[in-house]
């Protein structure tokens, strides 16, 4: 009994000492750093964004704190709270989704820390933030418009397939709508025969594309809502003996969205007709400038990246602005 009492006394003394030694300190000095908090680095797009952001912060001599949540919304909230506690001068966040971004805005707003959403904006009117976002609709529409022009020049009728993203993601919805808007203008020669849901998942993309190609062997016009789905799409096209270069009469008119290294190589090797490119250098610059503005906006503000379309006719001029070109070279 005595031993037990002693142990308990030890335990209480230990915890009290730890708390007294350190407990409830006033907040330290502001770190002055910019907190970068990404949900994932699992695709080339996120990896490149993360790297370019860090490089641009270093170029401006801005200290940074970084965290990746590995797909866990709860962990991402913990990380954002930690950066707020460290009194970051601002936060640049790539959120898991538009719904779980909402509490991130609330926490940042309560602490009066500017928060910038990179590439995905929060759902609804959730507070004060800046969102840097690609103009998904316009870029996708212009890319598919270019593909349709190529089809028109080649002549004949076309059966189209589109690989859709996760339709809970506003980006995916914008890209789908851009695709459909462009096709509407060319419905005399292009007919959509397959809309393949992928949920941004490679396996689903492969299974869906393979099934659609089997059900519609005449598919000869394909748009992927993201370049990161290309490996699955290429595999499905190869299985159907449809992955051919532009110079081959059996070529399937191909388009994508993002501007990653694989898309750049496919353009170079003449497998890809057009790619909608997100201007990552602009998006990163705009994110940092929003943080540097040093105060939280009074209302949600969206900065649109108009992007551009890279295609066979302008690849050389586009190379410097296409982020994938840099990674393809590496």
């Amino acid at each position: 009994m005595l031993a037990r009492r002693l142990t308990r006394r030890h335990a209480l003394a230990t915890s009290a000492t730890a708390l007294l030694a350190t407990g409830c300190r006033p907040p330290g000095k502001p770190s002055g750093a910019v907190g970068i908090c990404f949900e994932t680095l699992q695709t080339a797009f996120w990896e490149a964004s993360y790297t370019i952001l860090k490089e641009q912060l270093r170029d401006r001599n801005l200290p940074l704190m970084e965290a990746v949540a590995d797909g866990d919304a709860s962990r991402q909230l913990d990380q954002v709270q930690a950066f707020i506690v460290r009194r970051a001068r601002g936060l640049i966040v790539a959120a898991k989704d538009s719904v779980t971004a909402v509490p991130l805005v609330k926490h940042a707003n309560r602490a009066e820390v500017p928060i910038v959403f990179f590439n995905r904006r929060p759902h609804g009117d959730s507070g004060r933030y800046v969102a840097i976002q690609s103009d998904n609709f316009s870029i996708a529409r212009d890319t598919v418009e270019h593909m349709a022009q190529v089809a028109r020049r080649r002549g004949g009728a076309y059966q189209a397939m589109v690989l859709l993203g996760d339709l809970g993601d506003m980006n995916a919805v914008g890209r789908r709508d851009g695709f459909l808007a462009a096709i509407k203008e060319h419905q005399d020669i292009v007919r959509v025969v397959a809309q393949v849901p992928t949920d941004w998942n490679q396996e689903k993309a492969h299974a869906g594309a393979a099934a659609a190609l089997a059900a519609n062997p005449g598919i000869n016009f394909v748009f992927s809502s993201s370049d990161f789905l290309f490996p699955s799409l290429i595999s499905a096209l190869q299985s159907a003996n449809k992955y051919r270069t532009i110079d081959d009469p059996g070529h399937v008119i191909l388009g994508g969205f993002d501007g990653d290294a694989l898309a750049y190589r496919m353009l170079q090797e003449r497998y890809l007709d057009a790619d909608g490119v997100q201007d990552l250098y602009f998006e990163c610059k705009a994110s940092i400038e929003a943080v540097e503005a040093a105060h939280a906006p009074t209302e949600p503000t969206v900065v649109l990246d108009r992007g551009f379309v890279a295609h066979q006719g302008n690849l050389v001029e586009c190379r410097e602005r296409m982020w994938g070109a840099r990674y393809a070279a590496a």
Binding site: T14, A18, G28, A82, T100, R110, G168
Partner: protein
């Protein structure tokens, strides 16, 4: 080289049931030297809100582990309960206040039903706990994805999500709710007859049966209680993340819940463990995550490596301590 005194203190500390507290206090003091912000009031409040759901999950897991089982379905139950709860709370056919109450009831009911399904399969059908709960994990994850088409459900009522920002005398309401749930679990395990039977069943099921204890009913009650506590944890997660969705929590939360229970003294062989220990284990793990986040310069793989190593050390000490205890009892 360790002195005999240091050696003796170390051994005594690892044998102590208060090891979770020692480890937490020591780690807290150490982390405060590196990142003083860890001891700020704002951080402690954030830490408490982050800790709340994990300590409830760990408490539920402890009940099942004490009975000699394990519940691997927790993240699936949280996913499905959150989806149904969010759908109820955002239903336009219910009045504002009523929808929150209905949502809370739905979440707790889903938790209890999931626990009951696990309990029936393990206690009466004799299925292995690990296989049963792995199947229900998949089942509830699948249901949640089917119900929502993988889309998150947000815009939960303000009177519900507002609680995650509320404090009573500086203590977050989320922590108070979690403390109440774990206190009930503690009282049930320590002082109720069924709770005491859990230890007996977990230590030796055959002996418990021969002694006339209702073994199946006791095991069943552990799984139902675990499911109910998973429901409480779901509410705390929903409150904090302001959503219900199939991936509300990641799979690593399951490992955290089991690790917290084991670090807190529960034996995976059954028959040992305490709610207080599980709470301390959860506190320790949350503190590690918090301190690594505060450093702000670590990559995710660093964080996972550090956390994984700490869990491994904690579980090894716990296993060693339990083995010693068993040898002492046998002698």
């Amino acid at each position: 080289m360790k002195t005999p005194l240091a050696n003796s203190l170390l051994i005594r500390a690892t044998r102590s049931p208060w090891i979770g507290l020692y480890a937490t206090a020591a780690y807290f003091a150490l982390a405060a030297l590196v990142t003083p912000e860890i001891a700020s009031l704002a951080n402690l409040q954030g830490l408490a809100v982050s800790l709340a759901p994990l300590m409830v999950l760990a408490a539920g897991q402890t009940l099942v582990i004490v009975s000699g089982g394990i519940d691997l379905s927790l993240t699936g139950v949280v996913a499905y309960a959150s989806v149904l709860g969010a759908m109820t709370m955002t239903s336009e056919s219910l009045p504002a206040g009523g929808s929150v109450i209905a949502g809370v009831v739905v979440v707790l009911t889903v938790g209890a039903i999931a626990g009951a399904a696990n309990g029936v399969a393990v206690a009466w059908l004799g299925m292995p706990p690990f296989l049963t709960t792995l199947v229900t994990l998949m089942f509830f994850n699948g249901l949640a994805q089917w119900q929502t088409r993988s889309q998150p459900i947000g815009m939960l009522p303000e009177e519900f999500i507002g609680l995650s920002f509320s404090n009573i005398i500086g203590v977050p309401v989320a922590l108070l709710l979690a403390a109440a749930a774990t206190a009930v679990a503690h009282l049930w395990l320590r002082h109720a007859l069924t709770g005491q039977r859990l230890y007996a069943v977990g230590q030796n099921r055959a002996t418990a049966r021969v002694s006339g204890l209702p073994v199946a009913r006791t095991i069943f009650s552990a799984y139902v209680a675990c499911g109910l506590l998973a429901g409480v944890a779901t509410l705390l997660y929903m409150m904090r993340l302001e959503a219900g969705k199939p991936d509300l929590v990641s799979e690593t939360v399951l490992l955290d819940a089991v690790a917290a229970a084991v670090i807190g003294g529960a034996s995976l062989a059954g028959g040992q463990g305490s709610i207080g220990g599980a709470v301390l284990g959860a506190m320790f793990l949350t503190l590690i995550g918090n301190s690594l986040n505060l450093m702000g310069s670590l990559q995710i793989w660093h964080v996972l490596l550090v956390k994984g190593s700490v869990i491994l050390i904690g579980v090894s000490i716990s296993a060693w301590r339990n083995a010693r205890l068993r040898r002492t009892v046998a002698a």
